[in-house]
């Protein structure tokens, strides 16, 4: 009981010093949580990928498209249930900063994406309208799109001004699903290509391949690619997750840098905390020597210092932990839809707790050892 009293009161002894240390911990734990959430958000698409979908793309590069004729040959491969088309459009909505993905897709695309919940009436309305588009709920909320609205896009890959009519809004089956994209008819894009001299029609960006069993993904991928081996347009078929990760891997260096910064933040606060505890312990050398003279053991002294360090870290870390979801919500808002899924995971919250606890323990080790080993006669002579 006395130990708790001493720990609490010692922690509050230098209010400005403790306050600043708590503030530093708050910032560090908060920054760590946000940075880890950024990394998680980067992988959100890959994490949400289905195990029963494969992506077939050009083996050379995503910049190269595949012939439409491949579709029927892929569908003929054993284990393949559905084949849908998807082509990246890359249009600009008003200004380049208003980025969101747009895909020209085949009519059966949504059959493969059960996680995009679309009202049947909307889907039928979309199917009936060549210029019709389906937009995800997150995208609709961001720009205020409603059914019947016209979405103007300035083409970059497919030049010219395009106008699509929102015919439906689809929701994610759960909150982890990204619904920040727009889908429109591949056939509409293909017709446009046919009318443009010098452009090749009947080309598909990627094929989305539905399969009957996830455990057969590797075999089916090999079978699909074998169909087109040694052709002028060889394919590369991989799981949707691997496909998504190949995008993430383009940003590997950035992600690594973010991770390193998050660890550096913790290391810096560790140094600050260790300095605070070293100063406090040094100032109290005579008090610790007095306690030892009275009969308190070295372990008791170590507990006082460790307890104080953990108490400060608990307050700072706790505040940082509490603020992280709010800060994440603000960050998501400020990022303007760059991270459609930006939720602080349980793993990140747990890591924040562990970081705060580790800082509390590691920062106290040296001061606690020094104070508990101080010779009483020398400690009593010390001036705080």
């Amino acid at each position: 009981m006395h130990a708790l009293k001493l720990i609490t009161r010692n922690a509050l002894r230098h209010k400005i010093r403790s306050g600043l240390t708590v503030f530093g911990l708050l910032i560090a734990v908060l920054a760590y949580g946000l940075l880890q959430t950024v990394v998680d958000a980067w992988y959100a698409g890959a994490d949400a990928a289905s195990k029963t979908r494969l992506i077939t793309r050009s083996a050379i590069s995503l910049a190269f498209q595949l012939p439409l004729s491949y579709e029927s040959r892929i569908r003929a491969v054993e284990g393949v249930t559905t084949v849908a088309r998807s082509t990246w459009f890359g249009g600009i909505y008003k200004e380049p900063k208003n980025f969101f993905p747009q895909f020209a897709v085949s009519a059966n695309y949504l059959d493969l994406y059960a996680e995009f919940v679309t009202p049947e009436a909307d889907r039928q309305a979309w199917l009936r309208d060549r210029r019709g588009a389906l937009v995800g709920r997150q995208l609709a909320d961001q720009y205020g799109f409603k059914v019947g609205d016209v979405v103007p896009l300035r083409g970059t890959i497919y030049s010219g001004d395009w106008q699509f009519v929102v015919r439906g809004i689809f929701d994610g089956a759960d909150e982890t699903k990204i619904t920040r994209q727009m889908l429109f008819h591949w056939a509409y894009l293909n017709e446009w290509q046919r009318t443009r001299p010098g452009r090749r029609a009947d080309q598909v960006g990627v094929y989305i391949v539905g399969i009957d069993a996830p455990e057969r993904a590797a075999a089916i991928s090999r079978a699909v690619d074998a169909q087109f081996a040694n052709s002028t347009a060889e394919t590369l078929t991989e799981t949707e997750q691997a496909f998504q990760l190949s995008f993430v891997s383009m940003s590997n260096e950035i992600i690594a840098a973010i991770r390193v910064v998050s660890y550096v933040v913790i290391l810096i606060i560790l140094a600050v905390m260790a300095n605070t505890m070293a100063m406090s312990a040094r100032e109290r050398t005579a008090e610790y020597a007095t306690l030892k003279a009275l009969g308190f053991g070295p372990g008791y002294i170590a507990v006082l210092i460790l307890g104080e360090s953990l108490a400060i870290c608990a307050v700072g870390g706790g505040l940082g932990l509490w603020l992280t979801p709010y800060a994440a919500a603000g960050f998501k808002q400020a990022a303007g839809g760059l991270f459609p899924i930006f939720a602080v995971s349980q793993t990140t919250l747990m890591a924040q707790v562990l970081c705060a606890a580790a800082v509390g323990i590691v920062a106290a080790i040296v001061p606690a050892l020094q104070a508990s080993r101080v010779r009483i006669v020398e400690g009593l002579r010390a001036v705080g």
């Binding site: 008090e287 007095t290 306690l291 009275l294 053991g297 070295p298």
Partner: protein
């Protein structure tokens, strides 16, 4: 009757800058139970070192030192800490109170090492507070007390666990004349009324006169004929 402190051929030296400096040489001394002894001597004579050895917060190089019949030189650090908590009360020149604890809590501190219940501890602290005349200041922190009052809290802390002996290192060294006289009177009263064994290091001849026995040290040796004070 067996002396409470038995010192035989005690020696202590310190290493300073690669040199060994003898501080105490061949000290042999007995202190009887209930004695109030003053240790005097010039600076560097070894009186504080002798006090520290008797109190078990320092270790001799050689010789025998028995306190309450126990050879404390043979005890390990942990045993010594435990022994100190039960047998020695400390009074320091600068009081050495815990600044974050109230007078009551400072006095209670040694009792937290015992098995006494909270109620028993409270009762003893209240009694000791009244003994040193600070019942009305029990909730005050050291910074809210005068030097004399702080030293009275320190005395209360020293006697609360009913130790075999009390060691006081310059207990009046930081006090004004009146406060010093009050503290010395209090120590005398403790010794007279409770038969507490007190060993006090002091520079002050006036303070030394309050003791019943005077031991004089010079250059680490006991003087057979103390100088006139």
């Amino acid at each position: 009757m067996q002396p409470v402190v038995e010192i035989r051929n005690l020696a202590k030296s310190y290493r300073r800058g690669g040199q060994i400096v003898p501080v105490l040489t061949d000290i042999t001394l007995d202190i009887q139970r209930g004695e109030f002894t003053a240790l005097m001597g010039p600076s560097g004579s070894g009186k504080s070192t002798l006090l520290n050895l008797i109190a078990g917060i320092d270790k001799p190089d050689s010789g025998h030192l028995r306190v309450g019949g126990l050879d404390i030189t043979a005890l390990g650090e942990g045993e010594l800490a435990d022994w100190r908590s039960r047998n020695v009360g400390f009074i320091f020149q600068f009081y050495n109170l815990m600044p974050v604890l109230s007078a009551f809590e400072n006095i209670e501190l040694p009792l937290t090492l015992t098995r006494l219940s909270r109620a028993e501890r409270r009762e003893r602290v209240e009694l000791t507070l009244s003994l040193v005349g600070l019942s009305d200041r029990k909730d005050h922190y050291p910074s809210e007390l005068s030097g004399g009052q702080q030293q009275r809290v320190a005395i209360a802390r020293a006697v609360i666990a009913d130790p075999v002996l009390i060691v006081a290192d310059e207990p009046t060294g930081d006090l004004d004349r009146q406060s010093a006289a009050d503290i010395l009177a209090m120590l005398q009263r403790l010794n007279a009324e409770l038969s507490t064994t007190i060993i006090m290091v002091t520079h002050d001849a006036h303070a030394a006169r309050t003791a019943r026995r005077l031991i004089y040290l010079d250059k680490g040796e006991l003087m057979l004929e103390p100088p006139t004070i």
